[in-house]
Subunit: 434 residues, 2 copies
């Protein structure tokens, strides 16, 4: 993409309305614009990040055996009356009346709808287990939306739902999602820490939150140092095998968020305790038969008997992750994207637009780099181009200037470390070519 | 995907509520389920088709120089007051009041919101031309939703918006979208016919609808025979060149929908006139400065003067296309997917599950075919498997039975023609392998 043609309205100044760094940087980098309180438009640069995150989530859900479908945003209130949550949900639910005065709502989550779909379409234990997921916009009418996409009203969530014939099988589904969450966050360059959690209004007795650590995190977390220092990502995961030992290992160390923290236990840990700030990016629940019993989601068991299915639900905040990643990866100059989620991998900077040699070299590199390059072909001074490229945070900058190119040399800058390296034109193509 | 594990609730009987063939077949093939009146859940098989169509639309928008962003579903009523359409729109608009009693709505289209985004972020004629698009769920509260996804309430639309400094440039943007629509539909195996159209409530004076022909189409269309019999798809399209001659050629022949038809002109055409049924799958508008003037979307021109931008909007009914494709491509046994939009390209049928040779050959083929195979590994009789595979309409069936496999032979059936061919196992892998 050529920057001269790209719709990328970056800002030099910090917008007054943004209180946290990810919100500030998303506005400044031209990733989003607020269209109403807590409701955002994703501009082209922001949408590219959102889509890359979404795709990683999708691939890891699929790998774990979950199947993608897509439920609508608008739901019938009657479904929520079946579970009893329609009245419980309160003002956070966006309630709607259609032209025929039917009560509808913009889904804040989908336990009821997926339970109804399963109930109406699955009949036998032979169709189990199943894990179904979708990636869809949700709406929660927060009383005071803030922090940009971190706590917006309209937000993109991946929510999966598991259906099993008994508790042991349900635990296996839970473990699959648990491990897939660890893989998902790791692929984005994030170290997620699973923490035993309360189940809250969703119900059930087994639940984990996944937090990533960031200085600006919303809540205090208390974590055993070994967990932070151990890398588990290189482990092969075999979803057809028994995942319990790995889940046990990943949950054996102390790790809790504020509401569960236990000063006595922490005192015992001594200097093994790390106190930090966390951002919740995922939450998983096993809630047994709460919804299946209330809504009649039964299958026939091996002996012909009716069995209410065991269920769980599994959420990842896809749009929230964009903000969380920036909270974890930025410096004073702007965003520092991990490569897997960067909107473009390479920022190509032409230091002297109009200079025949610079223009020609840049065109050659632009073609060679393919879809993953953003080419700053504008007629601007070098300082502005450097600042802009640092702000939007592409992992690699390839810089073409008249002096270097006279010797066939370009400069490559690593956004994260700031290290610069000279490379021959051919070597740059070899390294970054599509 | 193995059918034994896939969430594919197919139906043997025609559901009573479905009046048209695409609705019947989408329900029977387990592609969608209605969750509320005119609101559908896309089950895994249906979602695969929807995503393939969406991706073709996206690629052709990008090729034509449009840039993708994503506007939210929920909009502020105030924006629509600026254009004057809030009161005009009537009961089709789903109006919502949030917890702070602010008037909101579920967007039925996005002229107002994109005009506001452009206004707030673009300043100079040097940033023009721009074409911005998104692929997002819309809501229109139809008084009587019917025909499945063909006329639902919540539906997926691609809508693009162009911004130009003057009318001549706006015409070039219009032409780009015109040609990209022809390419988009052609890639899906559809012959779309552009028809001069009224602009209606969107405004403006230049507009075309794109119809595909299907016996079950919703409206009568009147088309010059030459248009139907000419293939233009092989033509190279150069978006950097002048598209006007090609657009002129594609609009030179008589082609109108019912409300514009002209019996006198048709009489002159004689046997060159074809009267058929059409389904509208796209609609494009040039509406000049209607919204930019009302909402103050101006840029500074070359002389520093304020210029309201010239705009157009360009819609494709993405979810509607799923139904339209089935209306165009089906027979008594089920759907016949064109390859580019088929949920899977290959249906692999194991005629004797449990037979060691059949199972082994199927496993080999399943691995070789990759992501584009649906493997019927169920313990069902052959007739049920054939009927099911014909119903869901994958373009190719690869059939493995004990007699054939004893000689290393499988059968390949072309769903469209019904032709069957015997192939050695290796040849089948060579032909359909990923």
């Amino acid at each position: 993409m050529r920057l001269s043609a790209y719709f990328l309205p970056t800002l030099k100044e910090n917008p007054a309305e943004a209180q946290i760094v990810s919100h500030r940087l998303m506005l400044r980098a031209g990733m989003v614009r607020q269209s109403a309180a807590g409701i955002y438009t994703w501009l082209p640069l922001g949408l590219r990040v959102l889509k890359k995150i979404e795709q990683i989530v999708r691939e890891e859900q699929d790998r774990a055996g979950a199947q993608e479908l897509l439920m609508p945003t608008i739901q019938s209130a009657d479904l929520w009356r079946e579970s009893g949550r329609y009245d419980d949900y309160g003002k956070e639910m966006l309630r709607i009346t259609d032209r025929h005065d039917r009560e509808m709502l913009f889904g804040p989550t989908n336990e009821e709808l997926i339970t109804a779909i399963f109930r109406d379409n699955a009949k036998s234990y032979r169709e189990l287990p199943k894990i179904l997921y979708h990636i869809q916009w949700k709406f929660r009418d927060e009383v005071r939306p803030r922090f940009g996409v971190m706590r917006g009203r309209e937000f993109l969530m991946k929510d999966a739902y598991s259906f099993d014939i008994d508790a042991a099988s349900a635990r296996r589904s839970y473990n699959r999602m648990f491990i897939s969450y660890m893989r998902t966050f790791a692929r984005m360059g994030l170290k997620a820490i699973p923490m035993r959690a309360d189940t809250g209004p969703i119900g059930g007795d087994l639940s984990h939150e996944f937090h990533i650590l960031a200085e600006t995190g919303e809540s205090a977390v208390f974590v055993h140092r070994d967990f932070i220092e151990t890398d588990w990502q290189d482990r092969d995961v075999d979803y057809s095998g028994d995942l319990q030992p790995l889940v046990d290992e990943l949950t054996s160390k102390y790790a809790v968020a504020e509401e569960k923290h236990d000063p006595a236990m922490e005192a015992e840990l001594g200097d093994k305790l790390v106190t930090a700030r966390g951002i919740e990016v995922g939450h998983i629940f096993n809630f047994g038969t709460k919804y299946s019993k209330a809504m009649g989601a039964v299958v026939s068991g091996p002996g012909g008997e009716s069995v209410p299915v065991e269920m769980g639900s599994y959420g990842i905040g896809v749009s929230r992750l964009v903000g969380a990643l920036i909270e974890a990866y930025h410096d004073d100059n702007g965003i520092i994207w991990p490569e897997a989620v960067a909107p473009f991998k390479i920022g190509l900077i032409n230091l002297k637009k109009g200079d025949a040699a610079c223009d020609a070299a840049c065109e050659t590199l632009y073609k060679a780099f393919g879809a993953e390059v953003l080419y700053d072909d504008r007629d601007e001074r070098a300082g502005a181009k450097f600042a802009n490229m640092d702000l939007i945070g592409l992992p690699w900058q390839v810089i073409v200037g008249p002096k270097g190119i006279a010797n066939g040399i370009v400069e490559v800058k690593d956004r994260r470390t700031g290290e610069r390296q000279e490379l021959a034109l051919d070597a740059a193509i070899q390294r970054f070519g599509a």
